[in-house]
C-alpha cells in the first residue's frame, strides 16, 4: 500500500490512531525492506515500542535501555524535531508522518 493510499484510508477503517513512519535505508534490512510503515500509537514512544516489538533487531539503534531516544537518532513528526516536543512523550495525530534519521556525524578527532 503506498503512502498516499494509507493516508487516504479513513480513520474508522483503521480503527485507531496511526502514523506513517519513514524508514531510513540503514534500518530497512532489519525491517523487512520497507521504506514506509504504518504504526499505531498516541505518542512517539508508543510508536517506537510497537515498532521495536515487531522488529526487535532495531531496538538498540532507536531507544536507550531507559526508553529514551538514542542520542544519535533524530526523530521528526512532520516538520518538527521531537526533542522540542517532549521526546518520546510527543503526541501523534492520525496521518502524522514520522521520519527517523540517524545522526550524520564524525570528525578528525
Amino acid at each position: 500500500m503506498s503512502t498516499q493510499q494509507v493516508m487516504n484510508q479513513r480513520d474508522d477503517e483503521r480503527g485507531v490512531m496511526a502514523a506513517v513512519l519513514r524508514v531510513p535505508t540503514v534500518l530497512r534490512p532489519a525491517m523487512g525492506g520497507a521504506s514506509v510503515i504504518v504504526v499505531e500509537g498516541d505518542t512517539v514512544g508508543e510508536v517506537l515500542l510497537r515498532l521495536t516489538a515487531t522488529y526487535p533487531a532495531v531496538k538498540r539503534q532507536l531507544l536507550n535501555p531507559d526508553g529514551t531516544l538514542h542520542r544519535f537518532l533524530n526523530v521528526y513528526v512532520n516538520d518538527d524535531d521531537v526533542r522540542y516536543l517532549g521526546g518520546v512523550d510527543a503526541s501523534i495525530a492520525n496521518n502524522d508522518e514520522i521520519t527517523l534519521l540517524p545522526a550524520v556525524a564524525g570528525g578528525a578527532t
Partner: protein, 131 residues
C-alpha cells in the same frame, strides 16, 4: 566507485573552505553511485575536530531525494589538520554501510578521497571526477 563532476567537486571544496576554521560537511545525493546534488550543511558540532550535519538539512535532503526518485548517497566532510582518511570517530559513527564517505583534507593543498565503511572496516574506493 563514486562519480561526480568538476563543478560538484568545486562546490564541495568551496563548502569545506567556507566552514574553516571548523570542519565542513554536507550530503551527496544521486543514483547508482553518481552524484547529482551536493547539499551543503552547517556543522552543528561547531568544531574544528568534529562535524554533524544539521538534522533539518538531512530531513530536507531526504525528502527531496524521495521526491526526485534519487537517494542520499553519502556524506562529505573535511579534516582541517589531518589526512583525508576516516578517523576512528568517522568509522564508529558512520551511519549507513551503503553510503559513500567523501573526505577532504585541508591540511595542505586540498586532497579529496572517498571511502566505504563496512562493519568497522574502511575501504578506499575510486573517485571519478568528470568534466
Amino acid at each position: 566507485m563514486l562519480s561526480l563532476n568538476a563543478s560538484q567537486r568545486d562546490a564541495i571544496l568551496a563548502a569545506c573552505i567556507r566552514a574553516l576554521p571548523n570542519e565542513g560537511c554536507g550530503l551527496l545525493l544521486g543514483a547508482r553511485d553518481v552524484v547529482t546534488d551536493v547539499v551543503d550543511s552547517p556543522n552543528v558540532a561547531d568544531s574544528a575536530k568534529l562535524y554533524e550535519v544539521d538534522p533539518r538539512v538531512l530531513l530536507s535532503a531526504t525528502r527531496h531525494a524521495d521526491d526526485q526518485g534519487i537517494d542520499v548517497l553519502g556524506v562529505f566532510h573535511s579534516h582541517t589538520h589531518s589526512e583525508a582518511y576516516p578517523s576512528p570517530t568517522d568509522v564508529a559513527q558512520a551511519p549507513d554501510p551503503s553510503w559513500h564517505y567523501l573526505i577532504v583534507s585541508l591540511r595542505d593543498a586540498p586532497v579529496m578521497r572517498s571511502f566505504r565503511v563496512l562493519e568497522g572496516s574502511v575501504v578506499e574506493e575510486p573517485l571519478s571526477i568528470g568534466a
